[in-house]
């Protein structure tokens, strides 16, 4: 079946964002996945038609990138990081646990079509290892137990919220966001997780700052002179300690 006319309109809309239409191909393939549940031959044909390419050219691109799937993906995509750092911190155990629990191998989908399980490469959240991604949302500091609970919740349709991100919708809806269509969930979740802020909080605690930077010690509230005094004392203390240390 050919794609709906509305999808063709959106594919053209994506291509129009770029000075040269072909640049839209990656987001267009994300859109195909959101509509079709995978990269289908019809989706490849549609991209080829919009861009004036051959299906072979589009196929050549689609098969290069790991995020494009040629077999149907479940309602949710669960990725377990098993690159070295996460693997060592327990990612291997989590992946083995989920594989057994869901009775699937790598990049396979459960019989009920709810979950596709995949081991993934480093997802840039190493300070929250071991990390699990659901529809490319972060689930930090996982254990076999928490990951097991997570997939239970997903399969039961309970509300699941990412550690640093929004409430989980579905893999297809996530693919639509990646294609460039906003879903209104941007304001959910925190600005940063605790590990992201650990250096910042330590600096604040010890009165450390970049010299004269607007965010640093110089912008302490003026109406609280005692706060400045405390911070300055702390800073002086820490400098004294540093000086003493360097004398050694």
């Amino acid at each position: 079946m050919s794609l709906a006319p509305e999808t063709f309109d959106e594919l053209r809309e994506i291509a129009a964002r770029y000075p040269q239409a072909r640049s839209g191909l990656l987001p267009m393939l994300h859109l195909v996945q959101s509509v079709e549940g995978r990269v289908t031959p019809e989706g490849i044909q549609a991209c080829a038609d919009v861009l004036g390419l051959t299906p072979a050219e589009v196929s050549g691109v689609a098969t290069f990138y790991t995020m494009y799937k040629r077999h149907p993906v479940g309602t949710h995509h669960v990725g377990v990081c098993t690159n070295t750092l996460c693997a060592v911190m327990g990612g291997d155990e989590i992946f083995a646990c989920l594989r057994e629990k869901l009775e699937v191998g790598n990049d396979e989908t459960t019989a009920d079509g709810s979950i596709t399980l995949e081991h993934i490469e480093c997802n840039a959240a190493c300070d929250y290892a071991p990390v699990v991604m659901v529809n490319w949302e972060f689930f930090d500091n996982q254990t076999p137990e928490s990951a097991s609970q997570l997939v239970d919740d997903l399969r039961e349709g309970r509300e699941v919220v990412a550690s640093r991100g929004a409430r989980i919708t579905s893999w297809r809806e996530a693919e639509r966001v990646l294609a460039g269509f906003e879903d209104g969930l941007v304001d959910e979740g925190p600005a940063a997780g605790s590990a992201s802020r650990v250096g910042l909080e330590l600096a604040r605690e010890r009165g450390w700052a970049a010299p004269g930077d607007a965010h640093g010690s110089s912008d302490l509230p003026e109406e609280l002179p005692e706060a400045v005094e405390v911070a300055d004392t702390r800073r002086a203390e820490s400098e004294t300690i540093a000086e003493e240390a360097s004398d050694d």
């Binding site: 987001p27 990138y65 690159n83 070295t84 490319w136 254990t143 600005a191 802020r197 965010h215 820490s238």
Partner: protein, 437 residues
């Protein structure tokens, strides 16, 4: 003396709704843009050059110098210029750009506008890896807000300068962090590196003059413009100026992001992070991601700047400090990284495509204790045939963990052969393992 930690890029990460334009503006956001627009583009370039800012994506090339490689506009053959931000953060261990763009996407957007103005580009792209949904949301919303506020689009702040900015999500390919592969990918092709020359400054995106900078580099620009080149150059070391985000992960008590002047040591950072996990000792670490040769305890006092790390035999890279304690088998760690490089090799050149495959074969049998001592020499020989013979740095990087681990831990490889298997218990390395008494 500069403080031990110096939050600049990370300073607003704890703010309420830090990702929104009102929150960013409340901290003086987009003030730097006005400063820049009041200057000649060349002067902004000079300022960034004088600040000493060097590429934060790993290579450490001076950002302002890179901008200066753009050929002067040719009136006979006018070609558009492009700024492309490399936000394809995928190097194992690297986790600084993703939290930056999630917490404060406007810092990057403002950096893009100022940098584009400095190089006279009228179009810019942020190429962000696809596997970070919420970051893509935050970037898109920030760009939308910036358009609505007149920071993007036509006649920005009444200056007569126009800029269009597109957020582009990738689709899962480590190689797209290589700047010319990124350009091919952004053109809608397979992400494979290009032959250089021509360099992107001359023939980049759509064969037009293009600057490609890492996200943290570009995000550093507003603070430099606001506080001055001397302010930035006054931090860090003489040749490695300024501050950078150091990402500690693994077996430390408080892993996370620590923004500090370049030149800090791992000893200081581990101390700030509460030390190594209880009952264990530091065994090995990466200074800048898995593609940078491993360090050990003996490197705790190496200054983490470009020169210090290079002199000690590795690379500062992305300051991705992955910390492994004595519970971790180095052979297992290296095998896993090697499997990663094999998976991510784009297939364009033979040394990398075939070489990474063979490396995995040999490492697998060594890890199982089934190889022979000669396999270590074989591995080194294979590395020798990949390093410097591959089309891009992916192949070179694949050899780093292998050669450095054999250099420092040859006995551990041999122990696998003597025992007919791995002498370590993987369960003792996990985040939930009981402390060793």
């Amino acid at each position: 003396m500069t403080d031990t930690l110096t939050p600049v890029l990370t300073a607003n990460w704890g703010d309420e709704r830090a990702w929104t334009l009102p929150a960013y503006a409340a901290t003086g956001g987009y003030d730097a843009l006005d400063v820049a627009l009041g200057m000649a583009p060349e002067d902004v370039q000079t300022m960034v050059k004088d600040s000493g800012l060097r590429g934060r994506g790993g290579a450490g090339f001076p950002t302002g110098v890179k901008w200066g490689f753009l050929p002067p506009p040719d009136p006979e053959n006018p070609k558009p210029r492009y700024l492309v931000v490399n936000a394809d953060e995928s190097e194992p261990g690297t986790c600084k750009d993703i939290p930056l763009m999630m917490a404060s996407p406007h810092t990057l957007v403002e950096g893009v506008i100022i940098s584009s103005y400095a190089i006279r580009a009228e179009r810019a792209f942020i190429y962000v890896r696809g596997e970070v949904l919420h970051v893509v949301r935050r970037l898109r919303a920030a760009v939308r807000e910036a358009y609505e506020a007149g920071h993007l689009g036509t006649n920005i702040h009444g200056s007569g300068y126009d800029l269009e900015l597109v957020v582009h999500a990738g689709a899962g390919a480590y190689i797209c962090g290589e700047e010319t592969a990124l350009l091919d990918s952004l053109e809608g092709r397979r992400g494979q590196p290009r032959l250089r020359p021509p360099f992107p400054a001359v023939a980049g995106l759509y064969a037009s003059p293009t600057v490609i900078n890492n996200a943290e580099s570009i995000a550093s620009v507003p603070a430099i413009v606001k506080n001055g080149a001397d302010w930035f150059a006054g931090m860090g070391t003489e040749k490695s100026a300024g501050v950078g985000i150091f990402s500690l992960s693994g077996h430390v008590k408080r892993p996370g992001q620590y923004e500090a002047p370049l030149g800090i040591t791992l000893r200081t950072l581990i101390d700030l992070a509460g030390g190594i996990r209880e009952g264990h000792e530091l065994k090995f670490w990466t200074p800048g991601g898995s593609s940078t040769p491993l360090f050990t305890q003996e490197h705790l006092d190496v200054t983490l700047d470009f020169e210090g790390v290079a002199a000690a035999g590795s690379m500062l890279g992305t300051r991705a400090l992955q910390i492994f304690d004595d519970s971790v088998c180095v052979v297992r760690a290296v095998l896993r990284w090697t499997e990663f490089y094999k998976h991510e090799s784009c297939g364009k050149c033979t040394p990398c495509r075939e070489g990474t495959w063979w490396l995995v074969q040999v490492l697998e049998r060594l890890e199982k204790g089934q190889g022979s001592p000669e396999d270590l020499d074989l591995l080194l020989d294979q590395c020798d045939n990949i390093l410097g013979r591959s089309f891009c740095a992916l192949g070179d990087g694949a050899t780093s963990p292998i050669t450095s681990s054999i250099q420092y831990f040859r006995d551990e490889y041999l122990a696998h052969l003597e025992q007919g298997g791995c002498p370590f218990d993987a369960k003792k390395s996990t985040a939930w393992a009981e402390a060793v008494q």
